[in-house]
Symmetry: D2
Subunit: 206 residues, 4 copies
């Protein structure tokens, strides 16, 4: 079916989600991980910034979905390889630290939502995100950020479960390696979400 | 059955919850509502402070369960009389405002948990509370704060649903009017929780 | 505020919930518990049947919210007095048993929803109820059944948390003792829900 | 780290999950979809049957996580390509139909859990699954079934979010195409779960 992107993205019923666009995850500082490197190579932050600018211009609510980690690790678990790696990280996303903050180009402005969690891998589980979106009358979420391997797939699954439409501006998400990102788009995300180039999404909101 | 309170309250498996002990809800400032008046008449803040002191001394994790309201009311609903009243309040619990803060005697200290929500009436729904408690290995929650009419009953129901034991130190909760509080204790909370005098709870942790 | 009951109960956006109207809980058989006795004295089943008939006539979706218990008790807990009592019951709500079935006057018909749970005390937690209501476009739930002490208060709190309007036809719910039911209506449920006589609700749907 | 599979799979703290092993999804009848074809080529049902047999022999609780669809489609949404396709299916998983039933080799036996949902894509969201597992004292879930593209990834994410360890017996899950399954194992599931050959899992339980 040809998707009516303008209808899907009607500003009064849409929200923009930025998934873990944090300095300690995708930022320039320190030894770059493979994910941060992919973000840099593809200019993902710039693409997200374009979507963010367009959303702000139209009054689309913006949600910054962030991870944090207490100094004592409390409230978190290390029940998988990814979370165990987080536990040992030298950039542990302490609340209020530079690493835990969004990268400067994507920093929240007055009135935007910040939904921070200490547990798990995805933005909806055990957070206020779903109920806030419901209460705002949101029907479509636009997913941006990282990673296609875990967080973006999780975000899309959770959003579909809760009844939302999901739109993914392709260049506004990143993962590793590149060929896997393409494969996830084709074999998983295409079944869950409407994939569109960033400039089409921005165009709808212009 | 005689309850083994010491076993129920074993510090490594217990958490203390303070429900909406906020200046704008139970505090001294401004025109006292019936609830704030009940809290003052019964010395509820002092009783909660006793439980809190004992919990801190034993390293029992403490959760401050707070309500907040954005200036634009976003994320909230007015789908019942209580929430509609909140919307019109002159003390609207703006994030970071003196009204939204816990009363001074019960202010959080370093390392304690603050779980703030913009929606609804109870502390577990759509928040990280349950998963944080699980990840900390908590099996029993001690419920304090307000109100017996709504929030404490809701807290107890949600905690029982999720499999926790609930202990309520009687003088550490408040509601209105007095005779209704007694009736709820007898006809609802007794079925959901172990009711005990504050000094028994404090005694276990001494 | 004068409530516009007709708007609240618009059939295409409303669902009727029957909470635990099961033979083993409110039925005539066996030694009557205090709750079953109250249901009998007040003719609660007849009142619910009136609401149910009106809902069916207007195509309002009907949800039968039921409790069940496996022979081995698996999946349940005895973490409060009420659930511990259930565990010892001689009418243990085995799936498919006469005790677990709705009372005959309120039996489900083809096309109605049955949402059965093995755990907890309230109809929304850990069940598909909320998502089914959302997917059906429901905005208001009409709460009937038992008990005012626990299940109806829990239902109302959960529904308000999730953003629904709640309407309670007064004579279509029951609890014990009578004076406590009146007190809960006045001091808790009135803050959460629109209370209306059964004949007004039925009138809107006639 | 070398994983202690025997400790992870300790029978009293483990559950086996079968995800959508239903006739209308992976069965032999009718025109085989790509997924059913992959299941047949790889002998996935036989592999799952091996794990199931071993679990039953050790008393590990078994959960059949099933999808269903009402004749009127009520309670479901078509908010993504995958769910829209389900809506148009000629094998629509009507409750109680042969298509909705598990394939014969994996049919539930007395005492096993069947958790059926009408909405969404994953087994935990809006179902009793998490609370049943908690109440049974489960700490590790073994994931089998389909599909690696959607349901198994979703199951693993949800389980990790809720604090469980996840073990995936590699040959007991399926997806399409083959090379994508291998890529998801390497780039997503390996970060979420312990991947092990079926015979190792079976060996631990022998």
């Amino acid at each position: 079916m040809p998707i009516d992107l303008a209808a899907l993205l009607e500003p009064s019923r849409t929200a923009l989600l930025l998934m873990e666009c944090q300095e300690g995850i995708i930022g320039e500082g320190g030894t770059l991980s493979a994910l941060a490197d992919a973000v840099r190579r593809h200019g993902t932050v710039g693409h997200i910034a374009c979507v963010l600018g367009a959303a702000r211009a139209r009054g689309v609510p913006v949600f910054h979905c962030l991870m944090a980690r207490r100094p004592d690790g409390g409230g978190a678990t290390a029940n998988c390889l990814l979370l165990a790696a987080t536990r040992k990280s030298e950039r542990p996303l302490l609340p209020g630290s530079p690493q835990q903050a969004p990268v400067p180009a994507l920093a929240p402005v007055e009135g935007e939502w910040v939904v921070t969690r200490f547990h798990g891998l995805t933005p909806f589980h055990g957070t206020e995100l779903d109920q806030l979106l419901r209460n705002l009358g949101v029907r479509t979420v636009v997913a941006t950020g990282v990673s296609v391997n875990i967080g973006i797939v999780g975000l899309a699954l959770e959003a579909v479960n809760a009844g939302y439409q999901v739109v993914i501006p392709r260049e506004a998400v990143a993962g590793t390696p590149d060929e896997y990102v393409a494969a996830v788009m084709e074999n998983t995300l295409r079944l869950l979400a409407t994939l569109a180039p960033v400039d089409q999404v921005v165009g709808v909101w212009s």
